[in-house]
Symmetry: C2
Subunit: 349 residues, 2 copies
């Protein structure tokens, strides 16, 4: 899914604001019966009938959340949608609609925005969500994308962060740390490129982790899997800021403690080998890395047989009473209190 | 409603992302039974039962949509909400919830964001909407606010842009051009201030139009009035970009033409006198000025007795068949085709 290096440049000024929205959204179709009216009026109109509506929103800022020097625009469009759908799935809900608002400076030609929207379109198609609105405007510098995702769920299936109970099992989907290590590789190649622009990087050995960073997938499949397995998690959150930070969110909201077992944390072999290469600790990366967009949830112990042996799910610990706090149980069986070392966008660089 | 010139400065870095959201949203209460869960989980949860959901989103960018040199932050927060609620009212719906996402650079201290949220809070309280979520992040430069407004309506009351019919009357609420002329006054004072920073501007004669620019009100009262009068407009839009551009939207969506009577366009005396002072034409300002956030709608002629004589509503024209196009009928009774001279944020400065 590489960016189309189209050399044509159409200035945004020529199209104007209304022309731009019409142009960029012309290929989007509406597929949900809950979408009564999408783009083209003052507001979208939705009908969720007897289901509950869930809604989440995220801002992605150039230079803070993404770097266009290695992030192809099509991937960026795709990832912007994933970040939001991930929040909907973390409620154990089904994503149905999104809105996309975009602020861009005049330095971007129309063709660049078409690439961005191609990624958004692919995400909508793959995940079966309707694009129902948004806003397009200029910015003085850089690009900013604001996505709002809307979903639906039966009330008794909605999973909050607050339902975990003592002795519940802590489960994670997929593996962790890949997105962060992919970013390390991309940052390194960017530095090499600055020194020697003719250098052709060989990213092949890192393809899994680079894809985890550039084209993450939200875990719609896990929500579907849980439904099939007839498991309703007692609490759930998506991993956007790192495992440690997300566990602390669940513990705080649910008023429980946690024992996380270091030797259970799922790491892909590429993450392990790249950590060795960068002299980084895999556990630390999983705890603090962020952007993996896996689902972290707790289940009643009685549900363990239903998920046991499933290759998509790993039990990594269990919830405890609140007095002991949230701890990592290391391979040496020592306890280390978990800290929210997740990403803080307000830190000075 | 002047900005509190608090001299304390707390850096955003100290609070971090989660602390910031908790801090800024602590005073917001939830008042709608349709809000099952607001801020504090991966997504908000809403329940609209048998009503339809309407949803709209807008981006406001520093240097494009607002200038902090004369826009107090509290007013900016208030206005950001108004811009969105206006879209919901333009559907003849009731606004119930908002989400607010914010990108700010480190140059803003916490106290500045508190001012901004004080304005958002006042708007939520005054218009009875629940704040249910959002995102807060840093930006490399300047401030950007993304607001999504959610509302509800009975299906048969929802008013689209597309329902206007030949011979329907064209009606506008309030008066036009004030926000644009207020901006002219503020821009002039800014230039004076640059030359002589000790100059104390006397804005008193312009207070109505300056307030139209800095603290616009969305016309919730008009939606309530229409309900009381038992009038369901055949089409409706809010005036954000200027009367001309909005009439063209209604005509295009409804596939009709329009005759707009210059001598019917409602202008406040302050707008007329300030236009004279700036040697500008009041009609042109109403047609192209923008940001008035009044409602523009069409009604069946049979409903005319219901609105006749209401001081909040002015009949300014009628819809025609599509062949004649959309025209301004001047005081001299000549026809001038309307053009979308509304604001284009992509124009080079």
């Amino acid at each position: 899914m590489l960016e189309d290096k189209n050399k044509e440049r159409t200035s945004l000024e020529k199209l104007g604001e209304f022309g731009l929205i019409d142009h960029l959204t012309q290929n989007f179709t509406l597929n949900h019966s809950s979408t009564l009216k999408g783009v083209g009026d003052d507001a979208a109109v939705l009908d969720f009938k007897n289901k509950k509506t869930v809604l989440s929103t995220d801002l992605l800022v150039e230079g803070v959340h993404f770097d266009l020097s290695y992030m192809p625009l099509k991937h960026l469009g795709y990832k912007s949608v994933m970040v939001n759908l991930s929040d909907i799935y973390a409620m154990n809900a089904k994503a149905t609609q999104i809105t996309v608002s975009l602020a861009v400076s005049n330095r971007f030609p129309l063709e660049a925005l078409e690439e961005l929207y191609a990624g958004i379109h692919l995400a909508c198609k793959t995940y079966n969500v309707d694009m129902i609105g948004g806003d397009t405007t200029s910015s003085k510098t850089g690009m900013l994308i604001s996505v709002t995702a809307i979903g639906e769920a039966e009330e008794d299936k909605i999973t909050y962060r607050s339902g975990a109970k003592e002795n519940d099992l802590l489960v994670v989907s997929g593996d962790l740390g890949g997105a962060y290590m992919g970013l390390q590789v991309l940052e390194r190649e960017k530095e090499v490129f600055k020194v020697n622009p003719n250098n052709q990087p060989d990213l092949e050995p890192y393809s899994y982790i680079v894809e985890r960073q550039l084209k993450p997938e939200a875990r719609k499949d896990i929500v579907e899997l849980l439904e099939k397995l007839e498991v309703i998690p007692t609490s759930m959150i998506d991993i956007s800021d790192g495992l440690s930070s997300e566990i602390l969110h669940l513990c705080k909201s649910s008023k429980v403690g946690c024992a996380l077992y270091e030797n259970k944390i799922p790491l892909d072999p590429t993450v392990i080998s790249t950590c060795e290469e960068f002299k980084m600790d895999g556990t630390m990366i999983a705890l603090s890395g962020g952007e993996d967009y896996e689902l972290l949830f707790t289940i009643d112990q009685a549900d363990f047989p239903k998920i046991k042996g499933n290759p998509n799910l790993t039990v990594i610990g269990h919830m405890t009473d609140t007095s002991g706090g949230a701890n990592l149980v290391t391979r040496a069986e020592t306890l280390i209190p978990l800290k929210a070392q997740g990403w803080n966008s307000f830190q000075e660089e």
